[in-house]
Amino acid sequence: MTQRNRLPERGRVDRSRTLRFQFNGRTYTGHPGDTVASALLANGVRLVGRSFKYGRPRGVIAAGPEEPNAILQVGTDPATTTPNLRATQTELYDGLVCSSTNGWPSTERDLTSVVGKVGGRMMPPGFYYKTFMWPSSLWMTYEKGIRKAAGLGQSPSQPDPAEYDHMNHHVDVLVVGAGPAGLSAARTAARAGARVMIADEQPELGGHLLASRATISGTPAAKWVRRQTDALAREPEVTVLRRTTAVGYHDHNFVVLSERRTDHLGPDAGGVRERLHRVRAGQVVIATGAHERPLVFGNNDRPGVMTASAVGTYINRYGVVPGERLVLMTTNDHAYHTALDWHNAGREVVAVVDTRAEAGGDLPTEARACGIRVLTGHGVIEAAGGRSVTGARVAPLSADGESLAGTTHELPCDVIATSGGWSPVVHLTCHTGDKPVWSEEVLGFVPGETRQARVCAGGVNGTYALEAVIHEGVDAGKRAATAWGFEATEMRDLAVSVAEPSQDPSMKLFLVPHHKPVTRAPKQFVDFQTDVTAAAIEVAVREGYESIEHVKRYTVMGFGTDQGKLGNVNGVALTARARGKTIPETGTTVFRPAYTPVTFGALAGMERGGLLDPARFTPMHLWHVRQGAAFEDVGQWKRPWYYPRHGESMQQAVNRECLAVRQRVGMLDASTLGKIDIQGSDAREFLNRVYTNAWMKLQPGRCRYGLMLKEDGMVFDDGVTACVDDEHFIMTTTTGNAGPVLEWLERWHQTEWPELDVCFTSITDQWATVTVTGPESRNVVAKLCDDIDFSREAFPFMAWREGTVAGALARVFRISFTGELTYEINVPADYGMHLWEAVYAAGEPYGITPYGTETMHVLRAEKGFIIVGQDTDGSVTPEDLGMHWALKREKPFSFLGQRSLDRSDSRRRDREQFVGIRPLNGEAVLPEGAQAVENPSNPVPKRTIGHVTSSYYSAALGHSIALGLIERGHDRQRERLHFMTSDGRLEEAELCSTVFYDPDGARQNV
């Protein structure tokens, strides 16, 4: 394959090396320094995709991130392939394989193109709007075909083996964009002593100067760029990020940058593929430049229609002339650069079609002097050709550009370059909600007022003359540095001068008129990626959509992955025109992050797989692993769920563990329980205020169950608190609530009762806990301890003792969550494993059985003990739970939540209340969450009156049991209800006491 459009010289590509790549199955060549787009154009490839809705052939339009058509799938490895990459930003490497994402079944022969008209009729303007309004089931039928035809690409189907990571930065000045303004700003701020970060999406710094023939104080632009780049490299506090796009600008100068580190090296590069930089900047300099605005005319989507600056960029930067014969249409002087570039490359400029009545500036004069035909007062009203431009139909325009003033003739050509002026890249400045403002002078939206500490410089302000851009950059760097406390120094080498050609004013033109009205004319595309035409916008306005946001949603303008970078301003202007309003009255749509698409890999960074969330392990974890325990996640903790023996099912293991506790003795790793050390002379008073029950009389050596409510009266947490001495208590919380409870205590202490002398320290991680429970538990613990008297009289229920267990300092609590005689032994965490093994060894003669959380749940459910967060959900009062006994209303201080228990709603007669549920079929375990209905023969939808919160098979009782919240449940004992099972059947069950096992509590009272 020859690169027939490659110039022998010119540009920044390395012609000494040839790279081979594949596009849509064919092999082509290019050079280092090429993008896929420049290489395709060098090879004369025009067709790069099919359009979303009409299936029309499309080619490269632009040379940067604004490209709407050349959207590629890069790579074939199902794990690393990337959809949706802009060919204009995809650097070429040897062996690159890519294909069109738009175009089904193939780009060359597109099915939707054959049925193009049908497709168009099937999807008129407002298609999405109306479809979404219809029943969603209809959307499902459309969705398949649309997605297939819409060219959204293929997402990787296997886990991405590449690494992604995040970096946090704090900088004084962040400069976004490394064109002339950004480079000048970065250098000035750095010289002032600021820590500077400068980021640019391109592989090289320089912005549009990389494609410029300008000289800056006599120095060629590219050389000037190199000087600035070298100077920045010598600054010790400057970070330069290439291939890095600022994708989001968030509040308080938090800017997210996405760096593509290895994709330009090919799939086997290794290392971190993409890095997300999270930057908090003192000051931000926005120097993002401007995108050229294409002109809207008939069939302006034919491959070969491009923006003028893109054509100039391909010639000057890549040494590629994308055709043989050029027609250039422009509203301004600047675009004449492209005609001159084309002419100097030795190819034919058929004509410059200038929409203005006169063009007397230096550049038009130079063009004429080169023998280029300049047609003033004309417009290209329509492109001729199918898969490629073959001509430009040209006609004279009225002075205001609203109508035609004569007949059409056709200029044969294969490229039509257009320039309707420039649109400042204000996207980032809008991310924090600042509204851009229309400037009649710039003929574009410029950054509006902001609360962010930012300065804009250069093209983003609508400043386009190079000398002014550099000076604005210097000024921005100065302002940013001084605003952040640095003293700016003069930058003599940046006091440059650039000879600017004289220019005539530009013309304001957003739609080139046609002989036919807009709705009849050949399609005049405004947004290429979403196939929105001028006619569609007229239809939207005619149908009554007036707000620009509604027009956007109705037409889907700007909804593509390019966010309508090329089309938005034209769309706004056409909407304004259709409504008979001005552009400022019409306003613009909101730009949101991300500026260009960001991969999920970059967003996730290292936070995936095992690093998604911290995992917490108890000191005894390895023992559980060695015993083959199945684990359950409880918050971040990994807790043994059950310990299956060879060949056991989960239910068999749980039955065995339950019976072992009830008949002999079991042991549980309870180290994950939240533990908070509470000290201070007002510790007792504090407990009185945050718990529902009384704490004034709790003696050292005793402990008490406490119920904690939110101020709305709903149960928030529960646990046992032990009194060490009058000013020292140890509170336990549920495993999941350890953090929230600590925050809760701190909140009340700090915000309401700072006068109380009390402080809180989390000691969850400092202590390991082994629960020994069952009729033989006393025998087991007594074997391990000489200095505690475990007799019933000396160490009663709800007491705790300090002593030495298995040689370790221990706090032993005689409390019970199983209903059996129980000792919870706490030792410093470092002794946890030692204690566990000692207990296991001491218990072996008694058949001690380790059990997990599932058995713990069954045992507590048999006793009707609640699990906060399972049996409660933030809408349950203690009285709903039947725990009136835990309320001490006569305390001098109205405890948290107390007043709410007397709210009319808390007193409602029909509240859901906590009950026991016994299925009539003792083998049927109701699904947790199963809804209760009174009469199953009631018509659908049946009213439900509550649900199951906990449900298990009880081996000790020989039948299934459940707990639940049922409307007026406390008055319904022995009533029968029906519960919906997961397979849609109804299971009948009887309501009963929540205490299924040992209702008198005799077993723990031994």
Binding site: H252, T432, E743, E746, T751, E752, Q898
Partner: protein
């Protein structure tokens, strides 16, 4: 992401270190039992939700574990000041209206 000054740490830190902790300057009634359901309901559930200046509590959850107050604009997200519990704000609705 907000950049919040913690008056206890004496530093600006990123929002992800903090937990929002509701509207500030809502003292718990001294004698809840004496309040009507309506008055208690006001204390429990009703918040100002203003457009503009708002005084709110934040908790430096992964930092110093201290609560403090912040005067923040709910439209622009500008933070006017951070100040400790018990202190009065120097920016208030009245002072803004007076200015």
């Amino acid at each position: 992401m907000l950049n919040i000054y913690c008056p206890h740490c004496g530093e600006h830190r990123s929002e992800e270190e903090f937990h929002y902790a509701g509207e500030a300057h809502i003292p718990r009634p001294e004698n809840p039992a004496e309040l009507s359901d309506e008055a208690w309901g006001d204390y429990l559930f009703f918040r100002r939700n203003p457009r503009g200046l708002h005084h709110e509590q934040w908790y430096h959850a992964t930092g110093c574990r201290r609560f403090f107050n912040v005067a923040r604009d709910t439209v622009t997200y500008e933070i006017h000041e951070s100040y400790p519990m018990g202190a009065r704000p120097s920016v208030s609705r009245d002072s803004e209206e007076a200015a």
